[in-house]
């Protein structure tokens, strides 16, 4: 256990020292400032929006959920950028740079090292995602007086999604060079997002084939399914036409993941971890 903590602390320290962390913090500050501006103007004008009489549409809830859904996407994106850059070179990259050899010959198992590096990355990314999630929620809540139906679960699912991406990036780092791995994981992330959008389009058009394909893709890449489920949790108790319209939008979350998804995400992490461990154990350094 002490080896895990030592390596995790090593990874954590490396993460905080790297320029990417400073860049992400800078991007985050810019993102939060722009998000506040967007909220400010949106809710300033909300009084001028009058839904058709009798439609039952809650304009404030619709606007709040949509813009906060957008913030969820931004948070996921920034968290994924951080997770990928912290893990993309853990095995092959660090071996090529000569950083891994002195560590790996110590009486620390390779599996322990991988797990500890993942833990170190998650220890940076999860609090970061949580902080940005809460920050954007406070901005929307305080500016527009709209709060999500569920506060904790969407944030946890977002952080879990980033942890899944970190695991995929670690798995890739066993086989690919840093650059190739970075490109591959970003492409996977993009594929997940496209699948989500295709699913939303399928939902809007009532195309079961599109919806099913998107659902399969989202579950193959559960960070996307977790993100979608988080979106759904934001407005899970919003009913009527408002809820229906939100479901149709890109930030509405038409999927229901629930407990099955969360269990699958844990199993997925274990499978990815096992593949990475097998690959790393068999690898000549």
């Amino acid at each position: 256990m002490s080896s895990v903590l030592t390596i995790a602390a090593y990874g954590l320290r490396e993460a905080l020292r790297r320029k990417v962390f400073a860049v992400v913090l800078l991007l985050t500050a810019g993102f939060l400032a722009l998000f506040w501006l967007a909220n400010h103007f949106l809710f300033e004008n909300i009084a001028n929006i009058s839904p058709p009489v009798g439609s039952g549409i809650d304009a404030r809830a619709f606007a709040g959920a949509t813009i906060f859904g957008l913030a969820m996407f931004g948070t996921l994106f920034l968290g994924v950028v951080l997770a990928i850059f912290l893990t993309l070179g853990v095995v092959r990259g660090d071996t090529e740079r000569g950083l891994l050899q002195p560590l790996i010959v110590r009486p620390v198992g390779r599996v322990t090292l991988l797990f500890a590096r993942w833990l170190g990355a998650v220890a940076v990314c999860a609090p970061y995602v949580g902080a940005v999630y809460l920050g954007t929620m406070l901005i929307t809540g305080l500016t527009g007086h709209w709060w999500p139906d569920h506060v904790i679960i969407p944030g946890v699912e977002l952080a879990a999604g980033v942890a899944v991406v970190a695991a995929l990036s670690l798995l890739g780092s066993v086989f690919l060079t840093s650059t190739a791995n970075g490109i591959a994981v970003f492409m996977l992330f993009g594929a997940g997002l496209v699948a989500g959008l295709v699913g939303t389009i399928g939902h809007t058009l009532s195309s079961h084939q599109l919806e099913r394909g998107a659902k399969i893709a989202a579950w193959l890449l559960p960070f996307e399914a977790l993100y979608q489920d988080g979106l759904r949790e934001l407005t899970s108790e919003t009913t009527g036409l408002t809820g229906f319209l939100l479901d149709l939008g890109p930030f509405g979350g038409g999927y229901t993941g629930g407990t099955t998804l969360r269990l699958w995400a844990v199993a997925y992490l274990l499978i990815v971890g096992a593949l990475a461990a097998i690959g790393f154990t068999r690898r000549d350094l």
């Binding site: 030592t6 020292r17 110590r106 009486p107």
Partner: protein, 279 residues
């Protein structure tokens, strides 16, 4: 018990045979030099011993434990040919990290002693990124010694060092031998190997082509005898022939002023063994 025992060790990288059945032993307290041209399999052998590379065939044991096992790793220190420490760590922190990973309880005392041993006592708080390459290499040697392992595997430990730094490492190796530490030294510097090693093993294309002490490997090149008639070279004669040759010369009425047994240097032995091959 031997510190390192390698039996029939073979390694294949696709079509390339890096090692083709090597037997080698490093006994307790022995300093063995590993020589060979680039691509001879020296680094592969060391990496298998450390558990960085898996052997295709054969076995390697460190202090009786299978190479790569937890116990074997506890019993060895390793300095890779290409290595780097995180630039933002100080020398003291690098050693502290490795103390934690090896489970060493030496604490500050051990770190201080090791840095002093490699001549870095004044650079304790200096960051790695502020160190010269030679200083980093000496820090690498100190790192390999964390936890006082009974076996050291050093892959080109002096490649980035200036003559003074090389001497520091040489003195250090002799001191370690005095303490009973076994060392497998992989180096291209023949003079260094000749100066410090008890035994030398020469690899060529994955095979052991020569092994023995520098004296055993040195081939006799004749006996040179200085007489009142001038200096005469008896080619092919060995040390054992010297008394007879002197007696014959004296019997012939010559005055003998000096006798020198000529042997080949390690460099000549090496070049003969590898046939001038470079990589």
């Amino acid at each position: 018990m031997s510190a390192l025992v390698v039996r029939g060790l073979a390694k294949r990288y696709g079509a390339v045979e890096a090692l083709a059945g090597v037997d080698l032993e490093v006994r307790t307290g022995e300093l063995v030099g590993l020589l060979g041209p680039n691509g001879a399999g020296k680094s592969t052998l060391v990496k298998i011993a450390c558990g960085l590379v898996r052997a295709s065939r054969g076995s390697a044991e460190i202090c009786g434990h299978r190479a790569g096992s937890h116990e074997a790793r506890r019993s060895m220190g390793y300095l890779a040919e290409l290595f780097r420490f995180p630039g933002w760590y100080s020398a003291d922190e690098v050693l502290g990290l490795h103390q934690k990973l090896t489970g060493s309880e030496g604490g500050e005392r051990e770190r201080h002693d090791l840095l002093e041993l490699v001549g870095l006592a004044d650079a304790r708080t200096r960051r790695v990124e502020e160190m010269s390459k030679g200083m980093q290499q000496r820090l690498g040697v100190a790192q390999a010694l964390v936890g006082s392992p009974p076996l050291l595997l050093l892959d080109e430990p002096t490649s980035a060092l200036d003559p003074v730094g090389r001497r520091t490492v040489r003195v250090l190796l002799e001191e370690l031998r005095g303490r009973g530490v076994s060392v497998l030294l992989n180096s291209h510097l023949l003079s260094e190997i000749e100066l410090v090693c008890d035994r030398v093993a020469i690899l060529l294309r994955g095979r052991l082509v020569a092994e023995g002490s520098p004296a055993e490997l040195a081939r006799s090149r004749g006996v040179e005898i200085e007489t009142d008639d001038g200096t005469r070279l008896f080619e092919g004669a060995s040390r054992e022939d010297a008394p007879r040759l002197v007696a014959e010369l004296v019997a012939a009425g010559r005055k003998v002023y000096g006798v020198r047994v000529l042997t080949s240097t390690l460099e000549e032995t090496y070049l003969e063994a590898v046939g001038g091959e470079t990589s």
